[in-house]
Symmetry: C2
Subunit: 384 residues, 2 copies
């Protein structure tokens, strides 16, 4: 009988009461959140089919539409992190053999290629150096050459701090009968995003950047055109968890159980979206822009240049070039150790060459810029 087996206590450790250092998170996310969001997160659970929860779901969907500036019915939070929502866009739209053209100018473009190929796509790439963006002509030429079913672009490249100009791209995609897929992980809530005006068909984001909610839930949206491609599929979506045909039955009018929604993460997301609605998108974008400007000026005074040309900078995430002779890691360690400030190292092509400094959502504040610049000045002296 099972209960006669002796319980093994090898792995029975005595973990202390949870305490965490009071970090100021000025890296690429997660970012700090408003206390209201943490309070909402800690509200008691209700069931995932509770009439009250269904009201909350509707509110979340509606506020996501506002933040994204879209009328898409299929606008929901995916029950995972931003990477899960990223995969969901491809899992639902790619059928084996589909040509997927990806603009690769950083780490997340690379990831789109990897994900698309796993779902059987014929992946084509257009490339730019990390930190640059694509011109409309370059995109037009690539669409003409590859005739893709889907064009995937990164709006705000978290690895480089560059923001892709979007005017005109969506219209081109319609002409070439391609769906436009856009990563808005680091831009949504921190920089102008006009999903419908740009004719974007598939988009995703994270909760822990400019939305200012903890990580673990991820905005996802599909246009009618993208839903039509999904309906025309001849093969099942390989991922059951991310299959919008199934997920839509829970988030739509049927309310059929698919998986148990992450209840408390939905509470937190709703509160974070309420805060955005209270501030208003335009004011929020302007706040991000103004604090980014303050950061650029302060960095310049410290003799630090930005990696990205001014007109293409993502206001929420700045890549600052590490001055010659400075050990980038020594500086970021100093900031963490002495001041509880987290900034991040460069990734890939930019490893060791830049710091990545985030001023996202709740954290895009004048006082944070002030503190960071002052602490950075000390850290540079210590490392110099």
């Amino acid at each position: 009988m099972e209960h006669r087996i002796k319980v093994d206590e090898t792995h029975l450790i005595h973990a202390s009461q949870l305490d965490v250092p009071p970090r100021l998170l000025l890296g690429p996310g997660p970012s700090n959140v408003d206390a209201r969001v943490l309070q909402a997160l800690a509200m008691p659970e209700i069931g995932h089919l509770d009439p009250r929860f269904i009201e909350l779901m509707n509110e979340i969907q509606e506020l996501l539409r506002y933040v994204w500036q879209t009328d898409n019915t299929m606008t929901i939070p995916m029950s995972g992190t931003g990477s899960a929502a990223m995969e969901a866009t491809l899992a639902n739209s790619v059928e084996p053999g589909d040509i997927v053209l990806v603009g690769v100018n950083g780490y997340f473009g690379e990831r789109l290629c990897d994900m698309a190929s796993r779902y059987g796509a014929d992946v084509r790439r257009i490339e730019k150096a990390w930190g640059e963006v694509f011109s409309l002509e370059e995109i037009a030429d690539a669409l003409k050459m590859h005739r893709p079913a889907i064009l995937g672009l990164i709006h705000g490249e978290t690895s480089t701090g560059a923001m892709q100009p979007m005017e005109g791209i969506g219209k081109l995609c319609r002409e070439f009968n391609a769906l436009l897929l856009l990563d808005t992980v680091t831009s949504l809530g921190g920089a102008p995003v006009f999903l419908d005006h740009w004719h974007v068909d598939l988009a995703y984001s994270g909760s822990q950047k400019c939305i200012s909610c903890p990580p673990g839930i991820a905005p996802f949206t599909m246009s009618k055109r993208a839903v039509e491609k999904l309906k025309r599929r001849k093969t099942k979506v390989a991922s059951w968890y991310l299959d919008v045909n199934l997920v839509a039955k829970y988030w739509g009018s049927e309310r059929t159980y698919h998986h148990t929604a992450p209840i408390n993460m939905n509470y937190a997301l709703r509160e974070a979206l309420r805060i955005i609605a209270e501030e208003g998108l335009e004011d929020r974008w302007e706040r991000h822009r103004a604090n980014a400007e303050r950061l650029y000026e302060g960095l310049q005074e410290l003799g630090i240049e930005c990696h990205v040309a001014k007109e293409y900078r993502l206001p929420s995430l700045t890549t600052a070039l590490v001055p010659d002779g400075i050990d980038s890691k020594a500086v970021s360690s100093y900031l963490l150790r002495k001041f509880n400030i987290e900034i991040a190292a460069g990734l890939g092509q930019l490893a060791g060459k830049v710091w990545r400094i985030g001023l996202m959502g709740f954290n895009s504040r004048r006082e944070n810029v002030k503190l960071l610049l002052s602490a950075l000045s000390e850290a540079l002296e210590a490392a110099g």
Copy 2:
């Protein structure tokens, strides 16, 4: 220019401050959690590569090994709900053409079949009526007939309330060179689970049942044999998000970024596991057993029979047969409306025939049994 577009306020709703009804969740999950878990959930974020977070990750892994009674190195929380961890077991272990034999005696066995087929498995089924379990002979015969690469079983069927006896099955799987995959969603933390003793190779669970943590993070484990099958794969795992080759680089010694871990959900899971460690597995299992017995007795006094034979009942989830002439939905609505108590309806073959009553983790308490029985008695009179 993008900022010249006018912001559309169609979807700008004014949502009220979050309030949720004080539900007693006695359905199949989510279940209520200890206030300590909600407090941990609301602690401020730190980065997913913060030295402190890495300590917490190690503690979570170790406590999961204790709860599962396994030495598996690859024991982690997946960044999604139980269904994501369920899919992860198949996504990593199934290669196209692999024979996957599934024991189907309820809703979640059906789901395993669906998921496995999406990853290209040649799915074979052994079936039993919903509420029954498989004998060792039936499993031996099926292994002999189908020679599967993987045998998938549900330990605690949340749709039926039946618990599959596990003695001997793992040894048989080794003889037939099959991996043993086990769903422990509703049993882990509430009933004896001895993963290594049972020779289980792949297992998953949910956080929101007997672990008593909110939903949104999901225990996942793989034995050495399962990891070896993963290493031998000729094809990439189709899901990038769930690919253990990548996830392991973050949860293993490399600490390479894969996706941003759901920080606060990890805090909550750690606290929930700490509470289990403080109580001790044997006392916790005994508590679940004793409160289930109290429920069975009280139901009998109300003239309500249990659907599952006594020896195969899952202590955390009871399927109670709806008496003739009673509208099952009217009763559960009455409980919710009058007493804020959530119980669930039957699924699939058992729709309309049973109520599903959960006494899980924190909620497996004498006072909850008392209240439910008393409220149910009133609801039956009102519905009769």
